[in-house]
Symmetry: C2
Subunit: 456 residues, 2 copies
């Protein structure tokens, strides 16, 4: 391992040059005119992987190609891990807010500034450099590794799910490693061990067969907008809890260990309030903001539509009223079960003076890797050694669909070892990647394979 770490140390400047090469491809998946750039970027990656000693191939898809690259085959069964990343980037617009051109990588201090620097080229490139260090120093890799780099992450990974399904017998791994999330600070390396799931529905209440004159008929029929307000109002109680029967039944309680970890995160409630621009924070009683946004489920109205919405007034009783709703779910809530309970509750609460229509989608399950599990502990050890700081276990409030896909289709857990800092401007102008995170990520990756194999 000493040789590997020494190799990483001495080659940093070249690594940065190579990453800059990768960042020069304007691989914007959302913009059709950049399709050739995505292909050129994928070709460059194949070439680069081959140069460092991997066998690489491009797999065509209806969209942009998926690159698969493997470490050299060895006799005998060994643990096999997948590193996932994506070479496509967000659109760079608006250009005028960039201090340097988005596809002309610029270094200022420890910042490497370019579109895609943190999201995600810099992060998966760190893993490639770690494996290069093994291969170029002739150090024995204790496991097999496959890199899967896709080109459609920023547009929804449309080709990835069918790709995984079609090859699910061949793609068998002991874990997936993904560096596409964040760490709270340079001195707080992090493993994201939980993501929230999601269930969405649209509720429509229909009253009279057409908008009615509120003078002529007001008072004699239910107003669907009022019925919707009264119905939705009942979905949350005075303590900020969702009232759907059984809603919290499968929620895994936050352990003292987790609470302790979440409390290590920087930032204050007051800072959060100011950042969001609200007069006061609000949420389920008995939990901190961080707990509320990551470890507790929610019932959110995303949109309301009813009656007249233009300038001035219109004296009508609307014929219908509609709400778009998403619930964020946490382990072990199951979207199907929650959806069923939600629909039953809405039906029970809805007055018989209006007709209730519900359309629901399939939802996404929440994700949780046991923070005390062997793989997580191994990853924490590698983070600690690489960054020389005690790593923190974090949860994310959003969903990452690919993580669910890996679990659902390949039956494998993901280790989310994000290297992006909160101020890296992912998806925004002046995206950057910190070169210390880049180097730390390489060391973490190099150590990770040792630790993971020990944990097997």
């Amino acid at each position: 391992m000493k040789a590997v770490l020494e190799y990483l140390k001495t080659n940093q400047s070249r690594f940065v040059d190579e990453l800059c090469e990768l960042l020069r491809f304007p691989s914007v998946s959302a913009q059709p005119q950049h399709t050739p750039d995505l292909h050129a970027c994928a070709d460059w990656l194949v070439e680069h992987c081959r140069r460092i000693g991997l066998s690489a191939e491009l797999c065509p898809t209806p969209g942009h190609p998926i690159m698969l690259a493997r470490t050299p085959r060895r006799a005998g069964a060994r643990p096999h891990f997948l590193v996932y990343g994506h070479y496509d980037v967000q659109p760079p617009e608006p250009f005028d807010l960039w201090n340097s051109p988005p596809f002309e990588p610029t270094i200022r201090g420890r910042h490497l500034i370019a579109r895609g620097a943190a999201d995600n080229k810099g992060q998966h490139f760190a893993h490639l450099k770690a494996v290069e260090a093994y291969l170029k120093t002739g150090t024995d890799l204790p496991c097999d590794l496959t890199f899967l780099l896709e080109g459609e992450e920023e547009t929804g990974s449309a080709s990835l799910t069918p790709f995984l399904r079609a090859r699910r017998r061949e793609l068998r791994y002991d874990a997936v490693v993904i560096s596409d999330t964040g760490m709270p600070a340079k001195n707080l390396p992090a493993l994201t061990y939980a993501l929230r799931g999601c269930a969405s529905l649209e509720v429509t209440l229909r009253g009279p067969s057409r908008d009615l004159h509120s003078g002529s008929f007001g008072g004699s029929v239910e107003n669907p907008a009022m019925a919707l307000c009264q119905l939705l109002a009942k979905m949350r109680d005075a303590k900020g809890r969702v009232t759907i029967p059984g809603f919290y039944e499968d929620v895994v309680a936050i352990t003292p260990l987790e609470r302790k970890q979440l409390r290590r995160l920087p930032g204050s409630e007051e800072g959060c309030r100011r950042f969001l621009g609200v007069p006061a924070l609000y949420g389920e009683k008995g939990f901190t903001s961080t707990e509320r946004t990551t470890a507790r489920p929610t019932f959110e109205i995303n949109g309301l539509t009813s009656g007249y919405q233009g300038e001035g007034g219109k004296t009508i009783i609307p014929a219908w009223a509609r709400a778009k709703i998403t619930m964020r779910l946490v382990a072990d809530q199951q979207p199907e079960r929650i959806m069923k309970a939600t629909i039953a509750w809405l039906k029970q609460l809805c007055p018989r003076t209006v007709r209730l229509e519900i359309s629901a989608d399939h939802g996404a399950p929440p994700y949780l890797v046991e923070p005390t599990g062997a793989h997580v502990q191994a990853a924490l050890r590698s983070l600690r050694a690489a960054f020389r700081h005690e790593p923190v276990l974090i949860r994310e409030g959003g969903s990452i669909p690919i993580v669910s896909d890996f679990k659902r289709i390949l039956g494998v857990d993901s280790l989310l070892l994000g290297l992006a800092l909160p101020d890296d401007n992912a998806h925004s102008p002046n995206e950057k990647f910190d070169l210390d995170c880049f180097a730390g990520g390489q060391r973490m990756s190099a150590l990770l394979w040792q630790e993971l194999v020990k944990a097997e």
Copy 2:
């Protein structure tokens, strides 16, 4: 009076021909291309009034002219009544739903079919024919009469208010007579003695400074759409009553006489339910539908707007949520007082996790003429004699702004003696006026002046 009634009887056929002439003018005030038709129609009315013995003049306004026509001046002070009407009509579109062209009056049985037949040309023309009968038979009119026919009623009577204000010293009447409402059935002549008023407001709740990702932030801030639902839900209790403190304080209770009158109206609750297309009727406990829509105040949501309203979903916490609201008021609720109480109640109920913004308009007061008053009783006698059926006292759920204007500016009450039947299709294709209502209206008008003067 015998001569007057005889004159009316023998001249019906000519009256219908003359009304058809009036109906041929496409005096659509909403459509600028019809401005010449409105002027031609007004000219025709001046000419016609002069022919029957009135002194008539057109008063220019920034919009369409107002016609004033008076019975011949007599020495000495006599009661003076104003007959209000309007010669403009609703747009006829959609043309393809008319069985005969809207401006080619067609007679089928007792129906005279044309745009404006019931609303309002046929109705004010009945009053003109009654005064013609007095003047042409040399019968002594016991009072002075002025006809005020405007050309902008269907577009909001924009010129009428300033006209009344400017001439308020000159326009002094003992009562206004308006035939522009309806009667429930041919055998149920009616006097509308009450109208509801109105107060409108727009409520906006502002939360975060921008739409937030419901995954990253859901659970830690109030959702303005949910806050709005919970706020509005509290505005009405389980008995269907508005919860605003003091809301019912000034409401004049329905008297046994009124209840009895309202019960005489045709139509069943089930018929009403089917007509409105609702699964069940709904309203304040303890009142019938007719009472609820005419004699009780309401709190109606006219529109809801928040967050994402397009196809599919968007996982956001909306930055704001808005509701448009109108309250229908009944005597003696005062819009200003109700608005003040409403705003105070909203402020009291609104959680401090969102910012409350309210914009309110000035509102319109409710209207009530004492049904036991001398003028009303006089009008009922004339209805009874003219239609040979016991008239009914009715209330309307909507507002008629001109009635408030006459009260507010000229300080005079209006007697609403509508001649339109419920199936007259006012504002709809195939508008008609029943020739029996036309003739009955003439008789009623002829008798009315005698009865009103007796009641003075």
